[in-house]
Symmetry: C2
Subunit: 363 residues, 2 copies
């Protein structure tokens, strides 16, 4: 079953196709692009490429010439000024033109890097995403945030650039290592909380099917998350208002990631812990029912995600929260949950209050 | 006399203020920005800063704290990946936030560089332009094209990013070396051709006043050019159609610049020569009256711009035109003039035809 979500962006509407075997949809798009004389420039990482090269290249069909391919080393270290400069120089040496298309085949790092290169080369080439991780399929491939890191911080440089086409084939998740799959589930839990009781219940019911990566269960889950994200993004493409709700659990999550030392916690694991702290805060200042937090704790456990973390200094976490808020100059404050499906953003939170709630996860 | 042109951009309308002493307008804007708690980040080059530092800093008034300042080496070599990375790292080390403002004080290089940094840091800071060259005042500071060069070519990386505020104070042109002033006049002649008989006549009448940099004459001239450019840009912000007319004379101009070796011809000198070739082409294939070319030749001479160039190989020029057309994938072809004020874009031109018209300027 192929599903489809459409996101009407300001300059470029995103056509998001998903489901088991959705890759086959690429051939029509590639034929259209080939028909107008444009070329395809694939960016991927070495691991993804080793596993899926034949399927990916095959899915473009005969409608285009062989895509040019640029491979990067997997991991966050490939999201730098140097790696984007390599992409730009590659596009220049290949003679890329404004109507050509960059296709990111990989997880969040590849999508962010290739997307930023596509957004800026000749002031904007075509851009498609083929997310190959659960995290990228439910979250980073949708919404048009692309960018790179600086020594001074993550994602400090970037653009808003909607992919014209996102093809999220859940079959690609087959080769995903368990911790990376679990990392994506951290974001899925966030979407369930933002969506409301029905999605949370469904998630609780389908835990086993999801963990065994049953095609239909995983595919439906990704679809629900993408649908919700697309709806939120469409209302606030430039992230100046309600899009902030997508940061539920992230302010604390990022701070935990930083305080733990990058690499110790996966993104989804950090978000899961951040959600627990946020739910505790929400109980205390937004009147959230105390039944939600225990349910999420059980869910995270069943998804092989941590619910506590040892040997982290609360002071360091608070300092990281402070520095995060400073960079995020929207001044929107924290996102809390009044009830399932009812987030509120722009909540002002005293450091001392946050400190007490950190105890929910710090052991 | 302060004049004002407003350009309604998609995300950000541009408020363009000009005239002798227009710098004073900065203080109101700075006070507004300071009032909301935002900071100002000035980017300039060492030459401009040595000449105008006190006036610039003074013009921000007391409404803001002292702006942070980042200086670059004057010249095209400052439009690289390395220099934009320095800007990004500077903004990071200064803790710039999304509601802060980057102000470019300088010519096209500083505007393009600082504008690209502003467009991409935290996915977009505020951006103002204070153009200090005639070329930047009439052309590059208006319209939102920002970017950097790659080893493979000029302006290959960039963005469309409208400055919220442009302050074009003609007093700043007082210290401009004569060849740079003349270079700006090359673009001015282009605008006269695009605008029509009245502006061309006015230019012919005011030559002496313009060359002696009489405040009122220069200021009115800049205003006319900016008004025309803003109108064209507003109709086609993303450069997918009619904005191409702004390239009148540029395809050949760029090719001459390249074939001559960068640095030998100023931008405006190359554009002037490109205009002569373009007018010759226009006579032959668009029915342009043969009276226009001689008038432009006289005008260029009076503006201290070349009307011929020696020791350039026509074959190299044609090769450069071909490579330019390849990168410019809009496929819009050449811009010609049917009559004064009536440009046509998308003209297909055989290399052999162009070759014969190059003789107008090659000696």
């Amino acid at each position: 079953m192929i599903w489809r979500v459409q996101l009407g962006g300001t300059f470029c509407p995103s056509d998001i196709l998903g489901g088991w075997g959705a890759l086959s949809a690429l051939s029509d798009h590639a034929t259209r692009v080939g028909g107008r004389g444009s070329r395809i420039f694939l960016v991927s990482d070495r691991t993804v490429w080793a596993l899926w090269k034949d399927e990916i290249l095959g899915s473009f069909g005969a409608g285009t010439g062989m895509p040019a391919v640029h491979l990067v080393t997997p991991g966050e270290a490939s999201k730098t000024v140097a790696t984007v400069a390599e992409c730009w120089n590659w596009l220049a040496s290949e003679g890329a033109r404004r109507d050509d298309v960059v296709v990111a085949v990989g997880g969040g790092v590849v999508g962010d890097l290739a997307g930023f290169a596509a957004a800026t080369y000749l002031r904007g080439l075509g851009f498609w995403q083929v997310p190959t991780t659960l995290l990228a399929q439910v979250d980073s491939s949708v919404g048009g945030k692309v960018g790179i890191n600086l020594p001074g911080g993550k994602n400090l440089v970037g653009a808003f650039y909607q992919p014209e086409v996102v093809v999220a084939d859940q079959r690609l998740l087959d080769t995903l290592p368990a911790p990376e799959f679990a990392s994506g589930l951290g974001e899925v839990v966030k979407y369930a909380l933002l969506s409301g009781e029905p999605l949370l219940e469904k998630l609780e019911r389908d835990t086993t099917a999801v963990m065994s990566r049953t095609p239909s269960a995983v595919s439906r889950l990704v679809e629900e998350c993408v649908r919700l994200k697309a709806e939120v993004v469409q209302q606030d493409e430039r992230d100046v208002g309600r899009r902030a709700i997508l940061n539920l659990g992230h302010t604390v999550g990022h701070a935990l990631e930083r305080a733990a030392g990058f690499g110790r916690l996966s993104h989804g694991a950090a978000v899961g812990l951040g959600l627990l702290v946020t739910l505790s805060v929400s109980e205390s200042i937004c009147g959230l029912a105390p039944t939600v937090l225990p349910r999420v704790r059980v869910l995270l456990t069943r998804f092989a995600l941590p619910t506590t973390i040892a040997d982290i200094d609360a002071g360091e976490v608070l300092a990281a929260v402070g520095s995060d808020k400073k960079t995020d100059a929207t001044g929107l404050g924290f996102v809390c949950l009044r009830e399932l499906g009812d987030p509120v953003w722009g909540v002002r939170l005293e450091e001392a209050v946050l400190a007490t709630h950190l105890e929910v996860v710090l052991t």
